[in-house]
Amino acid sequence: MIAVADNRTGGLVIIWVTIVAGMVLAVVPLPQFVPVELGFLRPDWVAMVLVYWIIALPHRVGIPTAWLAGIAVDVLLGSLIGQHALSYVLIAYVAASLYQRLRMFSVWQQATILFALLGLNQLTGFWVESVAGHTDWSLWYLLPAVSGAFLWPWVFLMLRSIRRWIGVT
């Protein structure tokens, strides 16, 4: 672990491992006994992980990383290639320009900003789907943003402890 500390590629591996973990959570099937409707509450884990790394290490994780992760998520979810890439690029841009302020915030204040970011994420996704000829807008589309904002403190604390434990800089 100490050997990893001053190794740039080692840090990159950890960052991508957490992003891929977010992808696994994004596609993990719900167990049989859980009602299907609960699926609407599934937050966008990859977006949350990306926002964390952009706030923590803006010199290492930025818009290109977000774009690559977005393409991978598009392939995983079978959406149009570029849909998640576009929304992740947008939220990465906002997060990268706000990172100094976000670092000063308490974790719950961050959560409210996260709600706005994840809401933007959902909105972009919906916008693309409506252009491609899909459904009508309803407030249900914002549910993942709400659940994401509530889960943010735990995601934040966990990723921070991983970062400090392994010493990614």
Binding site: V20, M23, V24, L25, A26, V27, V28, P29, L30, P31, Q32, V36, E37, G39, F40, R42, I63, P64, W67, G70, I71, A72, V75, L76, L77, G78, L80, I81, G82, Q83, A85, L86, V89, L90, A92, Y93, V128, A132, T135
Partner: protein
Amino acid sequence: MLGLGVLSLVLMFVDHATSWLDGSRSALTAALTPVFVTADLPNRSARGIQDMFSSREDLRGRITDLESELIFLRVRTEKMAALTAENNRLRGLLGSAAKLQDNVLVAELIGVNPDPEEQEVLIDKGSRDSVFVGQPVLDSRGLVGQVVEVSPFNSRVLLISDERHSVPVQVLRSNLRLIARGTGIGQQLELLHVNSTADIKVGDQLLSSGLGNRFPVGYPVGVVDSVVYRPGKPFAEVLAKPSAQLGRSRHVLLVFTESRVAEDANVTSGKGDDRGG
């Protein structure tokens, strides 16, 4: 930021309008297969643990049950073979083409689309096993859906209950031909344009009609669940429950209908004719 944003927009447009990106998508899906496998691990290990703790007596009981079921099904298959031969002989006499024998390939479910609005599942067979886009998918009880995306090791199946999916059906009792469209989350089928005078009632069995040349003829699709006539509306509202255990059955069957088989069947029915004459 602008560059990647515009690139995403262009990619989306290309993906939506053309099929140029299908190759790269299938290659990327193959590369990302470990993600699906990892996501399926909890499910898989839960079943593994269940198997570990089931007792000897339970397993023995299950084997006995399965064996008796096997004998029962074997008898029925033998009867079926005789009936198929007879049917084809009669069809030969009528001068119509013989019914095809469908080949199937068993595939295992490895993932479900996390978006509840989209009724899609992922299976562990792909272009390596000559799965193709548009291929019909069944389970032991009925029609499940069709393949919409293929990559080397797995493929995506659109379920018949998805809002974007329709299947041509036929009522077994009255031979009424209809279109069954998915309703999304409710996992039900909605029958379109049913005349208020049409001969359809609760409990009617719906089979695939084979019109449209996408699905094979005569596989169970669903059972009519409710028929509501609304005065002032031109059509009756008819809902059906899918026969297949959509998204719940662990194993599905991919159907291969070969045109070569059709010719062979024609030849055999011709022989039958000769013998008959």
